[in-house]
Structure formats: C-alpha cells, structure tokens
Assembly symmetry: C2
Homo-oligomer: 377 residues x 2
C-alpha cells in the first residue's frame, strides 16, 4: 500500500486511443487495462500470483457476491478484500446493482434503492447508493462504482430515460457517501441505453459532478457491436480528457480493440475466465474450441510463440483430453492461457499507442484473427 493519492496521467494519444497510468493507494495501473474478474474473492481456477505475473495491475470484485458470501463486514474484520484474497494490488468493485438485477430474486426498486432476496439462501437485503458505497468501503476497494440501474437492451426509450435519470440522482448520493478519500476513487456510470441523446445528457451531467473517473455502463447487454461503438463515439468526447474511462463488462478481444480506438482506458469481462472453464481458448489466431475432436491427436501447443506455459508447453491433445474428462487442470490451463492472451493484447495495444502505430498494429492483430487457427494435422 503506497498510500498515494488517486490520479490519472494521460501519457500519450494515437487518434482517440489513449495510453495512461491510473495511480491508486495500492499502486499503478497501466492503461488501456484489462481487469480479470475475481467475482467472489478469487479469479476462478487461478492463483493470484499467476494473475499478477500475467501483467494484471488490478482485478475486479463483485459487491453483490461478496456482500452475500462471505459478507462485507466479515471481510472488513479479516483485514479487507486485498488481505482476504491475497491480492495486494488495486481492486475495483462494482456497485452490486448489475447482479441484483440479473441474479437476485424478488427485486423491488424505488428511489431509495433496491430490495432483493439472495440467490444463495433467500435472505432479504437492501441496497441503497449509500449502502453500496459503505460495502465497497468495507471491502477496501480502491475504485468504487456508483449504484446505477442498468436496463437490458432492447428497451423502451422512456424506460431507458427513467433508469438513466435515476442513476444520475444515485451518482450524486454516492459522491456524498464516498466523501473525501484521497487514495481511492468513486466512478460515475454513463447510462442511456442505445440513445445518443440520453447518453449525451448522462455524460454531461456526470462530467459536471467532477468525479475521479467515468464508466460507460449498460452496453454489451444484447445490442449489436455497431450500436455499442456508436454509443462510445457519442459519449467519450463528452467525458473529461484527464479522467480514466471504463467500459463495463466488455468484452471480446475485438470489442476491446475497437473500444480502445474510441478512447476507452479500462475493461473487465468474464469471457476469458468463463470460456476457459468451457474448453475455449483465446489465441492470437482467434478462438479455439478444445472440445473439438480435431485436437485429439494433435501434439502441437495452442501457441508455440506464447510466453505463457499453458499456451506453449501443453499439447492440444492433452488439453482436449482434460476438457473432455472435465478435469480441473483443463479449466486451470485454459483460464491461464486466456488471461495471458488478454493481457498480452493489452500490452500490445499500449506499446502501439506509445509508438503511434495503433492502427497498423490493430490491423495486423485483426488479420491474424482472420487467418484463423492452424490447419489440422
């Protein structure tokens, strides 16, 4: 814990793409950054040492999961989430709102907040903007998110507008609840669905609040990629240049490249970890399904040029066998491979922005995806 004050340094730009450095009381985060998802205090099937060694500067924790199990007050008594999960670097927590909407039962949403039943044991919980910030503080989160309401797309315009306006009022309350914590930040969340007009209103209102950072929420929730990118093109220019921008829950490698090109600095997504538990590998040649019988006799590794042992040192035949046999090691190796690929991609994007070769580099990356996996043996 360095205890330094939270800040964002914009180091370089290449078009709209930005190279930066977020500093929290726990250290530096090189941006564009990918944050592995550590839902319940663990990045599934990984040791934290491995997560760090891949170049992760920050992980994400889910407030909803952690408040239900093991409980925010318990985590606080045990020294906070960093100590509990043995991750001494930065942690961002979501507000819990997204999972309340997607996982919890019997939700009731009012101006005050949301009441819901736990999907684990049916117990009743209340979540207000103030309680969300309180929980994130108990967890010890370095970057906390405002409570917001995220509507699934497609949705009716008046429903999107109502949720966006509510989210703005909740942002004000979260700002007050968060108060003055120099080493930490509270980010506001731009909502507005697939409406440019609503996105602009949301972004401008949040910018006026002078928060420490801004997220774009409510995207990658069912809409086509073009819609998501159009929303980013409308939103990013409204956000202060000197604040970090986080696109929540996104996405595929292609989504990330195209969002960095539009000015996004931070990402989180369950794809690399979830896919790893389902036999899918992300590689520089695209996505490889290890369940496929074509790999059964293939002695070649996933990617002989990778620095990651999971990609470089194990045969596809062995990975195929592990996946087919539902062995834990299959999930361990493919999650490792996938996070390694994501972090390598982020490092490549940062280097390209630094050398002002972003468009050339991303064209090469896309061409390699396009060429596809090795031909069968």
């Amino acid at each position: 814990m360095t205890g330094e004050a939270f800040r964002f340094d914009l180091i370089a730009r290449d078009g709209e793409a930005r190279l930066g450095l977020v500093t929290t009381g726990r250290g530096a985060i090189r941006t564009p950054a990918f944050m592995p998802v550590g839902t319940g205090g663990t990045v599934k099937a990984m040791y934290m040492d491995q997560v760090r060694a891949l170049g992760s500067d920050i992980i994400l924790g889910n407030t909803y999961h952690l408040m239900l199990r093991p409980g925010a007050e318990r985590v606080a008594r045990l020294g906070g989430l960093h100590e509990f999960a043995r991750w001494p670097h930065s942690i961002l927590t979501d507000s819990g709102g997204f999972q309340v909407m997607s996982l919890a039962k019997l939700r009731k949403l009012t101006e005050a907040g949301v009441t819901f039943r736990s999907h684990i044991d049916g117990s009743v919980h209340e979540m207000s903007p103030e309680r969300s910030i309180e929980i994130q503080g108990l967890l010890g989160s370095d970057i906390q998110m405002q409570l917001d309401e995220c509507v699934a797309l497609p949705a009716k315009p008046d429903e999107i507008e109502r949720a966006m306006e509510l989210s703005l009022r909740w942002a004000e309350r979260c700002k007050v609840a968060f108060g003055d914590q120099p080493p930490r930040a509270m980010f506001g969340i731009v909502q507005g669905g697939d409406s440019v007009e609503l996105r602009l209103r949301s972004a401008r209102a949040l910018a006026a609040m002078e928060l420490k950072g801004y997220a774009v929420g409510g995207l990658a929730v069912g809409e086509p990629q073009e819609v998501m990118l159009a929303m980013l093109e409308a939103t990013c220019p409204e956000l202060p240049l000197t604040k970090p921008r986080y696109l929540m829950g996104v996405g595929t490698p292609d989504d990330i490249v195209k969002s960095v090109a539009r000015g996004i600095d931070m990402f989180d997504c369950v794809m690399p970890t979830r896919a790893g538990r389902h036999g899918l590998a992300y590689t520089r040649r695209g996505k490889v399904n290890l369940r496929n019988a074509r790999h059964a006799d293939d002695h070649r590794p996933l990617d002989e040029e990778s620095d990651c042992p999971a990609a470089r040192d194990y045969s596809r035949a062995y990975l195929h066998h592990l996946v087919r046999s539902q062995e834990a090691l299959g999930a361990m190796l493919l999650t490792w491979n996938n996070l390694a690929y994501y972090q390598r991609l982020m490092a490549d994007l940062r280097a390209a922005i630094a050398s002002e070769t972003f468009s050339e580099k991303t064209a090469l990356i896309a061409a390699e995806w396009e060429r596809g996996d090795l031909p069968p043996l």
Copy 2:
C-alpha cells in the same frame, strides 16, 4: 530419461522400517515413498511442477481410466504418458483390474481375463494379463503391475483362495508378457484376503518367481486396520529383503506410518487429493474440515510452520469461503496442502529411519495428531 536399469538399494533399517532407493530408467525414488494418484494423466487440481516440488519422485497412473480415455494407443502415438502429461519422472501404473471390478459394468471374469463395458460410453473391452502389460507398455510405465483379482472383504475363504490362485497364474503370464525390459519393472501382487495362510502361500509363490518388486493388494478394502497390519506382519517377512514392497491403495497418514513400521516401502492413495476436493485438510495436527463454520472468521493459516504456501499463507476464513462457494481454488489449495503434508510425512519417516529414531519420531507424530487442531479463536 537416464536409461539406467531398474534396481532397489536398501540403505538402512530401523526395526522393520526400511530406507531405500528405487531406480528406474526415469530416475530415483526415495523410499518410503508416497505416490500421488494421477488417475487420468493429471493429479487432480495440481500442476505437475507443484507435484514435483513437493518431493514426489513418482506418480501413479490408472490403466483402466487411460485405456478408455484417451486410449493407450493414442497415448503411445503422442509419445507416452510422461510426455503427454508432462511428468518426466517415474510413473507406476496399476493393471486396470481393480477399477474394472469397481467401476466397469457387466464384468465377466474367466481364466483368460476379464471382459467389461466402459463406465463412460458402454463400449466393450477385453483385459487379459497380456493386454494389461501391453497397455502399460504403450503408456510407457516404469513400474507395471500384474493383472490380479482383488476381492472386497469380508469374503468367503474359498472365494479368496480362488482369486489368489488365479492371481498367481496371471502373475506368471504377466512375467512372460513383460519379458526383459531392464529400465522398467513388473511387480507381482500378494493376495489372500484376511487369511494369513493364503497370504503366506501367495507371497511364497510370488517370491519364487523372482520378480523385480512386490505389492500387497486386497487390503484397505473394508477390513479393520488391525487386520491389515496383521496381514503385513505375516506377509513382509516372506518377501525378499532386496526387493521393494508396495502396499496398494493405502492410506491414511496413520496407516502409512504403521505400514512403514512393518516393512512397506511404497504407497499410493486418493485420500489427500480426494479429500482436498471435499474441503478436508490433512495437517500435522490431524484432519481439519474447512466446511466447518468455526473457520469462517479465523484469520490463522492451516499451519504457520508449513513450507507449503497453501498451508502457510492463506487464512482458514478464506479457505472456508472458497470451499463453501465451491470455488476451484479451494480444491487447488487443499489438494496442494494435503499432498505437501503427505510428502512431508514421508520425508520425516525417511529421516527418522536414517537416524534410527523411527519409533521416537512416529510417537511424536502420533502425539501431535492426538493433540488435535488449534482451539477455536
């Protein structure tokens, strides 16, 4: 692969306990040795590097599982099990007979061998003594086991005798099938249930075959520990002093200590790995159930004096949380802890035999188990 010829060096004795060194074409195995079980080409929830770093010189592979998936001929085409699973050290394989009896469907046993249906896909397979040795050769096993028939106890004396006699005839056929392979060994298996007389007849007949090593099978299959130990006391003196002795499928730390005291050199058991996947930790203070609510707020590690990070660096509260949440990391950490404990126990036993302090050391170990786990906070 050193290519050295298989041999056993008896280095020291303390009472009946033996300190030794088994050499295979793949290297040395310090005995008494515990062999982690790598059923289907993976020690579940572990990286092979970790297994090795704990001091494992040899792992066990299950012929039944591997012949069904991914298939012995496939493993051979891929360079053998060592290459496939990335374990370059010694491997012992069982004959497949035990799992045929416990897992397969529609078994039919004759003098020739056994016909069965796969528990995975229902396909029909034949397993003769010759085919078992052929499969173990295709896998590249360094220490191969004869096909035998193991009866669950309690059983009728004539049933035990019939199976024991059949196992002796199969041992002869396996010896012929194995032929002359200097870097590798084929072990015979003493059977005879809970009958001293049958155990003696089996051990003497096998000793007369001049095999490279001897296993004691058909124990820890439902009988009390005293019966198992009585069988060892009867059997071990009949086995050649200069050959390694392997007690199959055993056991708890207490079983192992008492069996080493009676002259056993090698062990395998699923307990440390299986228990690790069910929230149970083996420690020098006995068995600890991490599911228990007493650990929910306990910041202390499993064993602050352990060399193993899983035992030393993670709080019981975190382990409890992972186990309750069914997180993969829970199984990863507890399996690691358990194998570390088993291998540390074996190293302690070896050191005690070397310094002729076996009975004192094992009394101390038992006293620590007896004292039990740390009192609750």
